[in-house]
Amino acid sequence: MILVVGGLADTVTELVCARLSDRDYPYRLLDLGTYPWGYRVDWHWTESGVSGNVEADGWSLDLHDLSGVYVRYLGAEGRTQPPGVEPSWTPALSFEHETGLMALLEDLPCVVVNRAAGGISNSSKVYQAQLVRESGLRTPPTLVTTDPEAVRRFYDDCRRDVVYKSLSGIRSIVRRLEPSHLDRLPLLRHGPAQFQAFIPGVDVRVHTVGDRVFASRIHSEAVDYRYGGREGHQVAMEPTALPDAVASACLSLARRLDLMLAGIDLKETPDGDYYCFEVNPSPGFLYYERESRQPISVALADLLRHGFERETPLVGAPMG
């Protein structure tokens, strides 16, 4: 049995459910929009590990029967207001019951796509960059600084072709550093910012699913193709093959982060080098599957059904 943990209104979760149905893989949906109301959970942590069950109207699931779990957490907007609870209490209650859920998923012995502990590295892009270097992929020349003079030097060293973007997990649009922006550099006194040499080439989005690799080549004139439409740029996508060493480095990076499913942002330069910018632990792969027509969700469904040999996480970091 497979457990899908997510929101019905989330299109990626909906796709996973649809694919599981297509392939006749039995699953249950734990709808985070209404969880824990409407569900009965009884989970026991002992020296034998974790056991117990989840029940909803019409079904009951023993945790021992799970072959895989897919989880995609919702923002506050995806949750319904619980009955009889003051709205001001809702965030704290959500935090409490999602913490319990995360602790459970961390300790289940089956495939979990994805456990939270591995994905949290995405909260520091520069931390991730150090993992990227060690995996064998390239990291763009990067400057993290609070010093306006250091930015000016970096800007000149990079032939005035520099982008800036967030360091943390807070999503930002990658933008070019224009000469007019230099006047705002004194604002760095408030905190550090990340600047990177602009890497020319073609964006490649890689999804790793267990030990499978799906790469999509993205054609766009936008600095950040994800937001290309807003700036009037067309975005086109096609499947592509990666050099073996690059595919292998992507798999190694995902396994090192304990991510069964990962979205890895690469750029192939005109010289054939591959730079890596980020590893997304909860990728919205629907967009890429639809545009490049690659069977990512089929591979995911198979992974949840048939499992995958999980390496012991490197750090027993808590998440729950």
């Binding site: 824990p36 009965r40 959970v41 009884d42 989970w43 026991h44 942590w45 002992t46 020296e47 590990g49 974790v50 619980p82 009889g84 209490w89 409490e96 019951h97 913490t99 319990g100 995360m102 602790a103 961390e106 300790d107 939270a116 502990a117 590295s121 909260s123 520091s124 892009k125 520069v126 931390y127 960059a129 150090q130 270097r133 060690e134 990291t139 763009p140 020349p141 990067t142 400057l143 993290v144 600084t145 609070t146 010093d147 250091a150 970096f154 967030s166 360091l167 943390s168 997990g169 807070i170 905190g191 910012a193 990340q194 490197l314 750090v315 027993g316 970091a317 808590p318 998440m319 729950g320």
Partner: protein, 298 residues
């Protein structure tokens, strides 16, 4: 001079004062900054596929580079004063600052107390339940715990301890515990279960704290009879977390001694004076070990 020891964060508590004093007494230079990214400090870190070079300038000082930093003690982080900030901007700059600090610490080739993995950095107050799997892997005894929203009319307490002495309710997102041992208490738990599953475990006795510094285990009092086996598990647990200094509390339960708390940020103030002195010596020993650390990002 062999480099400078940096203390990052709010300068308070014995981990700051005692460790700093001992380092200075041994002739080491120390510097303290609440926030290396706030003015008047200046910070720059350049990173690419091969190189990583950083520079930190504190007020009135020369810039120090990576290899001039002999060691780092990470104290409680300084939060940005919210005055004058819009909430969204404050959240953003706070997240950026923490992300930069975490990453920079992993780039430094010196001993650090503590070089936190992201999962601990971002969740320093993780509940004990979140450590269950790691504790088990290390061979340490864990508390049996139930997370449930099934109303069992007080049967939970009986199931947990068998003798009707109740259970401990521990919110997973707060550092508090409540003994549930009366009909009224169980009614409260049942009411709470209508809005969230609750975490319940067996009651325990007085905790005994133990601090692991590198490979050294320092008990805050008389070691228990099973200390030898526990120390093996404690060292394995500390290694699994990747932390140089970690504190663990063990307490008697109906099934014997169990781990009842894990503290990832050294809070030496609760230790007895003799224990604290021993721990401080071990921390200084760790920081001043002659070997350079080969940092491998987990």
């Amino acid at each position: 001079m062999d480099g400078t020891y940096l203390f990052l964060g709010r300068p308070e508590g014995p981990c700051y004062a005692d460790v700093r004093s001992m380092l200075e007494a041994q002739g080491h230079a120390t510097l303290v900054t609440a926030d290396p990214f706030a003015r008047p400090c200046r910070f720059s870190w350049a990173l690419d596929t091969v190189h990583s070079t950083s520079s930190l300038t504190l007020e009135g000082r020369e810039a120090i580079g990576d290899h001039q930093i002999a060691g780092v003690v990470v104290l409680c982080p300084e939060w940005i004063d919210p005055a004058g900030w819009r909430p969204d901007d404050l959240t953003y700059v706070q997240a950026e600052t923490h992300a930069a600090l975490l990453a920079w610490l992993w780039s430094l080739p010196c001993p650090i107390v503590n070089r936190y993995p992201p999962a601990i950095w971002y969740r320093p107050q993780a509940p004990l339940l979140a450590w269950h799997g790691v504790l088990l892997q290390a061979g340490l005894p864990t508390l049996d715990t139930v997370v449930t929203n099934v109303d069992q009319n007080g049967g939970l307490g009986r199931r947990l301890v068998g003798d009707g002495s109740g259970a401990v309710y521990t919110p997973l997102t707060a550092d508090t515990r409540y003994l549930v041992d009366s009909v009224e208490d169980w009614c409260g738990v049942t009411a709470l279960q209508r809005v969230t599953p609750v975490s319940l475990s067996a009651p325990h006795g007085e905790p005994l704290w133990v601090c692991v510094v590198g490979d050294h285990v320092v008990w805050d009092g008389d070691p228990p009879a099973e200390a030898a086996a526990l120390e093996r598990g404690l060292r394995a647990f500390a290694r699994a977390t990747g932390l140089a200094v970690i504190e663990v509390a063990l307490a008697p339960t109906s099934k014997g001694l169990c781990v009842v708390a894990v503290e990832t940020r050294p809070r030496l103030e609760r230790l007895r004076e003799a224990t604290r002195k021993d721990v401080v010596e071990r921390i200084v020993e760790f920081l001043t070990a002659a070997v350079r650390v080969e940092v491998e990002v987990p």
